[in-house]
Amino acid sequence: MFRMFTRLADVVAYGWLGLDPATRSAAAVHFFVEDVTKIFALLVTVIFVMGLFRSMLSPERVRVYLEGRSRWAAYVMAVVLGAVTPFCSCSSVPLFIGFVEAGIPVGATMAFLITSPMVNEVAVVLLFALLGWKLTVLYVATGLVVGIAGGALIDTLRLERWVEEYVWKIRVGAVDLPGQRPTVAIRIRYAWGQVREILDRIWAYVLVGIGLGAVLHGYVPQDFFARYAGAANPLAVPLAVIAGVPMYSNASGVIPVAEALLGKGVPVGTVLALMMSVVALSLPEMIILRKVLTVRMLAFFAGYLAVSFVAVGYLFNAIQL
């Protein structure tokens, strides 16, 4: 099914542009054309199809599901719902306040916020299409576990004291959106709206990610990463996590880079650590969350994520899949 994109890239790179397949520029152009067409075709399809089904699932509803659950049930549900609920980081603050005000533990709320950007249907489909099912399962499972463990840790250490005072005083009004059943036409309209809105938000990250992947793929010598970021270098994993901090992208932008790195022989654990760090450890997200969390809580949050991503990296490098 994906072969048509390879053929298209063959035609563009070797036919129209007349590049010699053995050259570096041909390899880069081929990678770029194949990934751009494949990824955007997948994005449009996936976001549209998901949009049809989930016009019903919203953070408002997640809040109702999570209210009054036992602690562990709340963590598990929070990460699963975090993975499937459409949500943009610009809504982090109202979501945080809304959850906490409903009596949902701060840890479960944070678990939702950790998992939501890392694991979502777009990331899953792209991972599956570009990197195969094994890595998809690994990535998703790790994302869920890191979210649950982070949430549990925050509650065990009673870190709710590191939430800004005013948050506890806010009273949230009841939502009184008209609750009629959506017709097919409304669902289609909603789904297209989602496609436009999500693409509008992420297209630049995706293009930069693919461009970077293409350069790595075409121009970086095959043994370069093996020498510096191979399994033999124990510093490669923490360095990958640190390198990911200033880089900020959504999951769809980082996956083509991961594809190129894996192709150059960088071990799976190191690549996973880099991906998660780029997606989940982001300065813009921290600045947004500063409105509801104290600097201490943000430092703890960033530290916890960094340590767990390093652990994930070492673990998967050690078991060598």
């Binding site: 809040r63 610009c90 109202p94 806010i170 949230v172 009004g173 939502v175 959106l177 709206g193 809105e197």
Partner: protein
């Protein structure tokens, strides 16, 4: 005269929503006031957890994303 409030902390989608309401109102010749509400306490009073939200004459009519053009026109034509 219709009174719109766009609820959101000033993200791109909120901007687009406010612009769209104003533009469609001008096009249809409907008199409107579009106010952007960025204060979180105020936003939460409406129970909105996904921004942007849209309030029409005191009632929340939409949350979670830029509304469709046709939806905006329906709001403008409603009595």
């Amino acid at each position: 005269m219709k009174e719109f409030k766009v609820l959101g902390p000033g993200c791109r989608s909120c901007q687009l929503t406010a612009e769209m309401v104003q533009r469609e109102a001008d096009r249809l010749g409907v008199e409107v006031v579009v106010e952007k509400v960025t204060d979180m306490v105020e936003i939460m009073r409406y129970g909105v957890m996904r921004t942007p939200g849209v309030v029409l004459d005191g009632t929340l009519v939409h949350t979670g994303g830029v509304p469709h053009v046709r939806t905006v026109r329906e709001w403008l034509k409603s009595d």
